[in-house]
Symmetry: C2
């Protein structure tokens, strides 16, 4: 058990019908003017937008609206919204959406205090202040509603990079799982696979952090069970709610407490892929990458991979565990090869170079460009 | 999955050698004068006190010291310390010890802002403010280092009651498991049993809060495993650390998220017992009460009790599960009958009346005085 610090100040308001609490929760934080950030408009169709607007109005909060955040959100839009936030002198930002919208809101919240937002991604500036951040979650996947991370894509240079700072924890996150009932099945599955991949980034590096590993195993098994239940009945609120809470916990710091670093190299490869193919959702990319990445790095921590196979998939060997995971992903309708997500053999070197653009990747095993190409070949 | 709010703002600094971080962590919160509260002096023997004093001094923090908190801490002492805190106009309180010391510190922190501290226990005043609270933990058991609860005993009336408020979360808690290596074995075991009892208060009420139940199971299994490891080797740091982190997580709100209330009636009975017998440690009392309470209320939620037996003890029936738990407690050296802790048949009615003094108890099954007597008879 390595030393660690755990401090997660986000207030999560969780449950069916909690969206109308948003106005009062924001007012309690002393914020009365907001930049409200949305995606492509689905929240107008499922009633979430109307409930938020009514709640803000009842709490005396004025909101300037900004729409159009897309999956794999772009630096360009975040920069524009920083100007809007500055122009309207808003006191806070409110994201209504999934990880892309929340991450954009976080970047806006920090962006108003720095000269150049992208320099924070390049590590030449530190994020020390941010406007108060609020979130109404509509897709459980990224865990951004209760974490200190944000990911943006700089599309000119095909960079999909991340920032992290304690000031990026949302003050309040509303998680009403019932609003996710209308999600396309594909998005539910992508979300669940993203959650599994977040937990595995820490879990597979583990050794004797028994408390944390037991939590990780509980979360992973629950995610798998809940997806199976939802596949049988998309409207199963209990399954939806448990999946949502597992997704939130998967990025809030618990899953890695005491583990000596995590291994985000599979995520770096997926980010490199989706920076080149912005239409690829994170979970869909991870469904393809996880099995081949695991097969490639498994010898670095064999006991833990064995434990994962046994505990999560009731499998005797690591191979069988990976096969069981792939089979589950396929059963759920996720892609399983690079060609399923429109990526061909000619792009592997570009992806590999892109993945290593920020420096070496890999904790279990440090991966070179050649390694990444070899590993991707297994997924063609 | 019921609706819930999760918000735990405590910063936990965890790991071997973290005690010297206390001064800087307190100064970062803007606190420069403290009331330092200690127990019966064991921290002078294991070096913790010296490390704290040095760290405070290096951070420019002045501390007034107050000693003598005992297990089942008393209102009288807390009241005295409120006066000391007021007289010295301290900006914060620092507990160095286990749950008794931390709970006393919490009561002092809140007590400086109310006319009569005990009226908050009687629910005739609300706790809305408190001085910043800091803790250096020396015994993992109560979870008070990361929760919003405090328990005091009013010994004249044999009342051992609790208060709860969001302002009672410690700002910073230092958890260095290595300082617990020198604890008497009995205290380690009492702590572990207290932790199990905290988790079971929520878990046994559960139904389909799968994510939370999976976390609870992970924590309970880990606690049992770690005690077995520590029994074989008291100096096993990994086991000590995992037990400590499980203890902290067991009261921080996670174990009950989404569960419709918890059942603290076994704790109320134990509190009634130890209010009459202040020498009985909470964990020792719970070792005696838990098995008979479970046997008495199990029919109220049979599926969940069955799941507990199977998952934690690999037992086919609830009886076998309870027997396995009792056997483990005995193997660890915990008491198993009321007479083991010096309580005779003549006291059962007094304990029962005392347990119900605040009103009805029990969520799984509402217990009358007669029920409590019947249940206690099983433990004679």
């Amino acid at each position: 058990m390595h030393s660690f610090e755990f401090h997660n100040p986000t207030r999560v308001i969780f449950g069916r019908g909690t969206v109308p609490q948003v106005g009062a929760a924001i007012a309690r934080e002393g914020v009365h003017t907001l930049l409200l950030i949305g995606g492509e408009g689905s929240i107008r169709e499922n009633g979430v937008y109307q409930a938020v607007v009514q709640s803000l109005s009842a709490a005396g909060i004025t909101a300037t609206e900004a729409w159009g955040v897309r999956p794999n959100p772009e630096l360009t839009l975040a920069r524009e919204l920083v100007h809007v936030a500055q122009e309207h002198q808003v006191e806070g930002v409110l994201a209504i959406g999934g990880g892309s919208v929340i991450d954009t809101a976080k970047c806006v919240a920090a962006g108003v205090y720095v000269d150049d937002l992208w320099s924070c991604f390049e590590r030449t500036c530190r994020i020390e202040r941010a406007l108060p951040i609020f979130a109404v979650l509509t897709i459980s996947a990224s865990g951004s509603e209760m974490d200190q991370w944000a990911v943006l894509t700089q599309s000119d240079q095909h960079r999909k990079w991340a920032i992290s700072s304690p000031v990026l924890y949302p003050r309040v996150a509303i998680v009403d799982p019932s609003v996710q009932t209308s999600l396309p099945w594909r998005q539910t599955v992508n979300g669940a696979i993203a959650v599994l991949s977040h937990i595995m980034a820490s879990y597979l590096v583990g050794t004797f952090e028994e408390t944390t590993l037991a939590l990780d195993e509980g979360l992973m098994r629950t995610v798998v069970k809940m997806v199976e239940r939802l596949q049988a009945d998309h409207a199963d609120y209990g399954a939806r709610a448990n999946l949502a809470w597992a997704a939130t916990l998967a990025m809030n710091g618990l899953i890695s407490a005491g583990i000596d670093d995590s291994d985000w190299s599979a995520h770096s490869i997926e980010s490199a892929m989706s920076a080149l193919h912005p239409d690829v959702a994170h979970g869909a990319g991870m469904a393809v990458i996880l099995p081949v990445w695991m097969a490639y790095v498994r010898e670095s921590n064999p006991g833990q991979f064995q434990r994962w196979a046994k505990t999560i998939w009731d499998a005797e060997t690591v191979e069988e565990g990976i096969m069981a995971m792939k089979a589950a992903f396929q059963r759920w309708g996720a892609p399983s090869t690079l060609s399923d997500i429109g990526i061909g053999a000619g792009e592997l070197r570009d992806i590999a170079f892109n993945a290593l653009a920020e420096g070496p990747i890999g904790k279990l095993r440090v991966l070179t460009v050649r390694d990444v190409v070899e590993l991707l070949k297994l997924a063609l």
